[in-house]
Symmetry: C2
């Protein structure tokens, strides 16, 4: 099975490195110098510093060269560039070849999931995702971890499992593409909320409570969109959320932490010199939730802090003074 | 509504302090000096140091005095003393009064859940649990948190909600007593596993993966015992597990950490001068799982490390070399 990985960021490069141990793998990098470095130095210092790459991994800056003989196409470009890159690659992809997305995000404007974008452009190709608690650096270091490959057809999911597996990287299967994509795209909003609690000086208990009730919100929304609630308690949901909320490397968690300390989102974002995905996503999530009639009080408060000048203190107070009811309200489909 | 809380440990005292703000509450302490201290100094330095208690909270060392006019009996004694204390109190409890357990554990020998022990002794009384991510110190400090009260009858659960609620302590309801009790009793085994990974030098990713797959195991067992899988993604399951695995105060997590560093369980336990619940529970869980035909690979490895002299390294290797399959295998009831 020949694999093409499109996008040489930290996670794309990591997945390509794994796949290259299981079969011939080509990594597409937008920049020619990055492709040359992968081929000649077996490193990608810009996006994955201090990680030696396998000598078997080939790279190219030509999209057609990367995909023309691939039996699996793995899309590792960010959500905002996903459609354009795939449209450019599409004419060169062989029939029936499955397309697996690694991108966690929704398309701006359309609000579409990445597998829906694949369906738009390559309707006759099986589309799915590989997702889970996957901090690239830890996986490259060979630390034990697991992920889930979601495809609508379980025979294809089973066939892809060995492509992505490594001795310390277990790959489970799941048939629920919607749930897996929604969980991955939206967890960053909850990472901001958990970070806020930490920044306000609260402990593990408050953080665990916010993560759990945050996941319940994501689950409600995911179920309303057609997902399976059990997906959200798996690697794509709980796993990814917990890893993000525990990691000091998470940009979203750090933004939340600074918000909790009373700083403004403008200050924080200008200082970090990059936008944390969850800041933008909080607005999209609230719009989606309203259109589907789903209550998402935590996401609403993150949106209020990020976009309406509400303080973290007031946001938390608003959360605590709501009436409580059944824990699984709105979750059972 | 008059409340009796039986047991003046850290969590019993905390719940009694909360309840005393909602109605007349009596705390039973086994030791007369502790009861006197609560009444006179409004503190319980032995079990809940540095936490001023409300002046309204009354305490007694007489069981009959505590329960004779109670409309709710809250059992806060550890699982090994639960049956004896309740048997002693039973003749003094008024008819129909609900009994709510705070104890996280199974009865040794019988393997019964605490609500089953209540059913044995007081069959005509509604039995349930209050459970969730509840580190007593953080709740007493007024940090925001949430919990779940599980009763088979939702009218009784709704009625009990305001008894346990506080401005920063939200109480949700759940009808799944089995799931809530199994999750609380067994999560310590997974806290040991997560601690082991940390002790071996692995990061947030590995830890999040173990917590997620650990919860999947608990869910499989809980479902086989009659629980609802969604309970396990709520406060009693994920919430409690995440709080325990993040907290540096958790004894079980600490035991795991030292095991991961290569020390023996005997060394660790003798040094801590107390037994971490999860060490014992890992054996009970594996017996339960075998009798119900449920696969629990992580619990088995914790048991192997704690009771069969297997090293943490070998245990992890055994986990990573199993075949992977569907993520929700065995979870859907």
């Amino acid at each position: 099975m020949r694999v093409a990985v499109i996008g040489a960021g930290s996670w794309g490069t990591t997945v390509a490195a794994i796949a290259s141990q299981n079969g011939p793998t080509t990594l597409w990098a937008r920049r020619g110098d990055v492709a040359a470095e992968v081929n000649e130095q077996h490193t990608n210092e810009t996006y994955l510093p201090e990680a030696p790459l396998p000598a078997e991994l080939r790279a190219t800056a030509e999209l057609d060269e990367a995909v023309h003989d691939a039996d699996v196409v793995v899309m590792a470009v960010p959500s905002h560039g996903f459609r354009d890159v795939l449209a450019e690659a599409a004419p060169h992809i062989r029939p029936w070849v499955p397309v697996v997305s690694l991108s966690k995000g929704l398309e701006q404007g359309s609000g579409k999931r990445m597998s829906q974008v694949v369906n738009d452009l390559l309707p006759e190709h099986p589309a799915g995702v590989l997702t889970g608690p996957n901090l690239a650096k830890e996986i490259m270091a060979g630390q034990p971890a697991a992920s889930v490959v979601a495809m609508a057809d379980d025979r294809i999911a089973d066939g892809l499992q060995p492509v992505f597996a490594a001795p310390a990287f277990r790959v489970y299967t799941n048939l629920d593409i919607v749930g897996c994509e929604v969980a991955g795209a939206l967890k960053n909003v909850m990472a901001i909320a958990a970070g806020m609690a930490f920044g306000m000086g609260f402990g593990d208990n408050t953080k665990a409570t916010l993560m759990t009730r945050g996941l319940a919100e994501l689950t409600r929304l995911g179920v309303a969109m057609g997902g399976d609630p059990l997906t959200f308690s798996g690697l794509a949901g709980m796993g990814d959320l917990v890893a993000t909320c525990m990691s000091s490397h998470s940009r979203n968690h750090r933004v939340g932490l600074e918000l909790g300390r009373g700083r403004s989102v403008e200050e924080i974002v200008s200082e970090m010199n990059m936008v944390a995905e969850g800041v933008k996503t909080s607005r999209v999530v609230c719009e989606l939730a309203r259109s589907l009639g789903v209550e998402m009080p935590i996401a609403e408060q993150v949106d209020a802090v990020c976009h309406q000048g509400v303080s973290a203190q007031d946001a938390l107070l608003a959360l605590m003074t709501r009436p409580s009811r059944s824990e699984i309200h709105g979750i059972r489909p």
